[in-house]
Point group: C5
């Protein structure tokens, strides 16, 4: 699942110079569905597929209105939702444009937040969530149906914790927290792969490992691109003191910010380990090469001189001349030559022994 | 197109110590053409080739005056335009000098902004745009005719969006945004190249790849040099609260700043991937070398000792002495020697097998 | 002890989207034990195993109350302790969740501090300590029994130094200081290993060294992950001017902060040395390879041509033709060939000598 | 010119512990010459070699007095100049001590500025200029006669631009600007060298290239040491709002600061390219090695087995035994052996072909 | 002297959890000696070995009292000195504990400063100096007798410069300045070594060079550890505006701070050069290897095929069959074979020539 090839830039941007706030059709966008949860301390109402036209009338009917738009194909419906809650056109454009950098921006009477979450459907690339937090509403715009918000919905339905008592800012926190948390299992999977690779590279390095290390580094790189601005976004939310975010919620966001730092921390640690693995791989490769060369050298340098000696006595000089190869006629010529060869061989072995080439490098 | 060699420093600077604000003739400068678009909410007038002398009289006639000077050869005309709008001499010098670093500087009653855009004519090097934003005018100075502003002109002509309602600061934003956007398609091309190289290096590394990786890194380096200060320039515009830039426009610039960060982000990501590719390449080279050495070693170390044995029995010792090579006269001498050779060969093969050298490294 | 494999992520996090402040059962958590030390300048009372129900009644009975909870299995008891002292639910959650990043956070009327300490039981991974500092109490939550606080308890018991005179903030300082100090012996052990490796790599590099260097770098990496945020935590305590921390204690914390910087300093220095060791190792490997190649080349290139000459005179051409190998019949053919061989050998030796290949690279 | 060896530390410092403000004789210092240019909007007077004693009397006679001291051997004269204008003793010490880091420091009624300029005489090391800017004077202390200020003098003489209208701060700006500009031509030379090396390394790498790359990196390193603090110095001048520097001049300094950043930018870009070149070099070396090894392996592994076969049939076994080398007596023994050899050779060639070793790596 | 092995952590710390301000016996501490210099503008009195008991009575007797304690074995005496001047217990602890990080800390009525100096006795490790600066006294605590303060004492004795006119803060500055200056000669020695290594590695690389480069990098690393916090300490002194430090002295400290930056600058530059040297070394090693391989390959690939041809004609096939080696009986068989061999040799030489392997890589 993690391995499918991902393009790093996919931004279907408006043509350069186009008017801002203009929505550009994305051919891969999914059909738009709008569902609504309206709740207060004692009540909750869910409208799974709501007609955009009805939304305006709902506004203000309950303490908190969560309008969840998933699928970004229907620009008219999205604009209708945005207009109903007075959302700035630039925010709407950013919500539809699915390759935003996570960020938090204050507008006159709402905060616009973009972040990414991992869902089983989205794979490692994740899915963009754009969120508008107002005084009595939260709008979320997701790329696709399927999200990591189900536990939050359960808490709303069963009034678990204080979520129904608190305002839209707390709902916003709960959704961001769920998105941050959605990265941990994926990171754990990557971590396991790094550790497997670590063992494999040390024990039995193969060329394929480098490719896998490169792949993991690339995953971590794109993870960092998602997580780093998320941390900044949370920091901006904490620092900028938007009116829509209460002090209580800020305490919770601080905790969430902490999780973001932890994510970054782990990503960076894995990147450093992965980079270090290449050094281990290369040095282990070079050790293997040294060993191979040593065997070749020991055998070749012993037998090449011996072979030469044998060749000499294989020459066909006319032995009638006393100057031509008298050794061939000696009674002990052959044993003498064998002795010479043994002497050469042992001499070279002693030389190699002294250099330490006969010891194996790997125990 | 991207590949043409670019010099990194091309600044035709004034001689060291020259008076500031002095315009230096650049032999490659293009003929100057001044075109004007004057507009307000309900009206628009275009003067494609305007005589510099007439410009002063136009000033103030319409809510917004956009004077677009392309080609920087005619210093007199440029100075005339600058003087007509009270532009600081240093700003004029910077506008003519085509190797400025992108920046935004506040002068008494105007903001001076320099940035770069990519046009089909300019190739990867881009083209400098200097812009002066006043209370009722925008001046732009481009190196060459041909720019990425046509869609903005269309929006002006057809009163698309709010561009005709808003002031010169919004026009300035629209032009900067178009320039930032002009980098995305080029970056996408580079990204595709990086990804192609990634596949190629992993599957079948060739020395030419290193050169291409180096080339891409160099492109990214000079892209970063253009984009990084653009980000700073946008940040300065947002932070410095120039009177000429309204709060509304600042909201739009914030969006544009975001795009700048995204550009940087992608450039940095590609640089890290490209750097990582060299590691992959080197380790794959070293794996290939190991494999070659293994084949050489296996074959040489098997046949060199065998060859030695054969040479021994090719020696011409006088076999009349019983000490000289009695093996040659044995009935089964030849089979015995062949057997010895087979034993040596199998011994070495077993040794190599135990070391794992007979397994291929690449499956 | 240091070598046991550690997972980098072990956070038993709540399911994504779970309500904050919700305590999640950790199957490896240890049985909870609560011990109390209540003291003032002239008195001290220890209650080794205190019933959580009794704690509330103790509150305020003495100038300072130190409630030490070790083992985090019993969430009810922990919540009871927290509630008795008005601790924020998020702080309680963080105290139970044992993979927090060290941090200091101010709540309405207490400061919440998380840090790690090394104990003989915990190994290199360390153990989390969560601490709540109020106006007349200090709560500590440890993962396991066994800590590095015994000397502090002794100082309390024997009223050594000013610890009994001063308030809970000074006790908090003493505990943090003990935790920071607990890292020094471990770092000293790592330092000794780095220095041993340094000697070993320079004198007699072996492939196993790379693995050990990688291991040490990994240890240092996870040490840095513990120590770096500890330094930040101390900085936050110094900077944020929490009411619960007096100016006197801040002076002591400044000293402690200094120790934290020293820790980081040493960790970073060791990391740089370890990284440098890989370069030393690789260059020493490549020097060894060069030497092996030189021996092979010298011997092979001398004997291969000589062997060729010998082979030529081993050919069986019919010497009845005067054109076929007349040398074989010369009176001094054999000495002449030997002389030729000697000339070739000396020629090559002279060539190698001039290239400096006969000098050993290692003295 | 660029290549002459430079020591990185040349600071002839006072003995450690010496009193500050104490001038230390530098044996290489050049004879001191003091020249004066006194000017106002309508007048200018030059005194090429002025007696230090007369200087005090000149003070205040004209709107701006530029006292230019070149050569630092005569400490008395320098102290006299300094005292005449009330310069702080530490500033005088720094002016004489020729290895200062560029800096700007405010004293009670003057600003002390140190920077470096490149002159044809100074080579790449540059020459220190110390400058004191007061309300009606500028003092400059240069190491040697010969500077890059001639164009400024010309502008003064011919009242070019506004230089005669403005005060000593503008003169100071003009001198700093000339010094910053003096680095561009040198940097251009280095840039050309980097680009030449780039082409050379890619096309035909030689060991000498690494040394040249190292040399260029070293030049860039010491350039950075000069330029980086110059940028800081300009920043300090802009930020610290010294009374002696007017707002108008600050506008010009901002432009100059920009040039400083541009210098740094180019230096850093070249450093990155130079560092990348080493990777290209190493990978190209390793590709060459691979190719050499492939040729050796192909030829050796083909001919070594063939040679072995030939040796076998060169053995002198007594062929009277039917078990001893019956092949020798076969009618088609020789052709059969040749066929066997051809089969081995083609088998190995096929093996190498399948591994892709017969294709050249370089097209 | 520089080469003696140094441990990076030597901190004889108090047991973890010990009370702060508690002095721990260091077995290597040197006998304590207290000497006093009391001075004012017109008077000076030196008491070389003063009884600690007498010190209290001296306090306030002269405008400035410099109590210099060298050797830290006698904790009682040190505590007595500290108490006499009202020094904070933590400061006393830090003064005795000889592995502090350089720092400056303000206490109620004195500033506590720690830094390091190099003395001939201390070698590269340096010696800690702890200094307490009050309104009318300076206390210094040195590890050992022998320091770099003698020139300051001489200036005091001979009333050289303004040192006797100014207060204890100026004395403190003079001592810090002497310590900073004490690093320059050592750095110069290291610089010379780096430059020697540079020449050696480029001209004739040996494996020993890598070890020396590593050694130098290590020295620079520990130098940086001493110098970097010294710079911070000076910055803190400048920034924190302690009452005990007058504005005049601050001007001098700014100069001293500058020297600290210069030290860092040089250390960093040397580190970069040293790191670059490893690249040069490795690439030169790899070039040597390439050359060795080329010689081996050229000679082996020429003679191995020739040897094969010779072996073929050394086979003993029964030449009575017309199919068996008819070449042996040809009249010109031998010259023909020699011709064949020459053809093969020239063919291969031409092949190598075309690949450029016959040119030497090093000119």
């Amino acid at each position: 699942m993690l391995r499918r090839k991902r393009r790093l830039i996919l931004r279907k941007r408006a043509a350069p110079g186009a008017a801002p706030g203009q929505l550009v059709a994305d051919p891969t966008a999914v059909e738009t569905r709008t569902s609504i949860i309206a709740y207060g301390p004692d009540q909750i109402e869910e409208i799974p597929a709501c007609d955009p036209a009805r939304i305006a009338s709902l506004s203000g009917s309950r303490p908190v209105l969560w309008v969840d738009v998933s699928g970004l194909a229907d620009h008219e419906a999205i604009t209708a939702v945005g207009t109903a809650f007075g959302v700035h056109p630039l925010a709407i454009e950013d919500a539809v444009n699915t390759h935003q950098r996570p960020k938090a921006e204050g507008y006159e009477d709402h905060v616009f937040i973009v972040y990414r979450m991992l869902t089983p459907e989205s794979g490692a690339e994740g899915e963009q969530v754009a969120m508008v937090v107002g005084r009595d509403f939260v709008l979320t715009f997701q790329e696709r149906p399927g999200d990591c918000f189900e536990p939050v919905r359960q808490r709303l339905r069963h009034a678990k914790g204080r979520i129904r008592q608190l305002g839209p800012d707390y709902l916003a926190y709960a959704l961001i927290d769920a998105a941050v948390d959605s990265y941990f299992p994926y990171l754990e999977t990557l971590g396991e792969e790094v550790e497997e690779l670590e063992d494999a590279v040390v024990k039995d390095p193969e060329p394929g490992h480098v490719e896998r290390v490169h792949q993991v580094k690339r995953e971590l790189l794109s993870l960092r691109r998602a997580v780093w601005p998320m941390r900044e976004m949370l920091n901006a939310l904490l620092r900028d003191e938007h009116e829509e975010i209460s002090a209580t919620t800020r305490t919770y966001l601080r905790d969430c910010y902490d999780h973001g730092i932890q994510l970054m921390d782990i990503v960076e640690t894995y990147r450093e380990i992965a980079t270090g693995l290449l050094d281990v791989y290369l040095s282990s490769q070079s050790a293997k090469m040294n060993e191979i060369m040593k065997v070749l050298t020991v055998i070749a340098t012993i037998f090449i001189p011996l072979g030469f000696v044998a060749s000499v006595y294989g020459m066909n000089f006319d032995t009638s001349s006393p100057w031509n190869m008298p050794e061939l006629d000696w009674r002990y010529g052959y044993p003498a030559v064998l002795g010479l060869m043994a002497a050469i061989a042992f001499g070279l072995l002693w030389f190699f022994h002294r250099r330490g080439w006969l010891r194996g490098d790997r125990e």
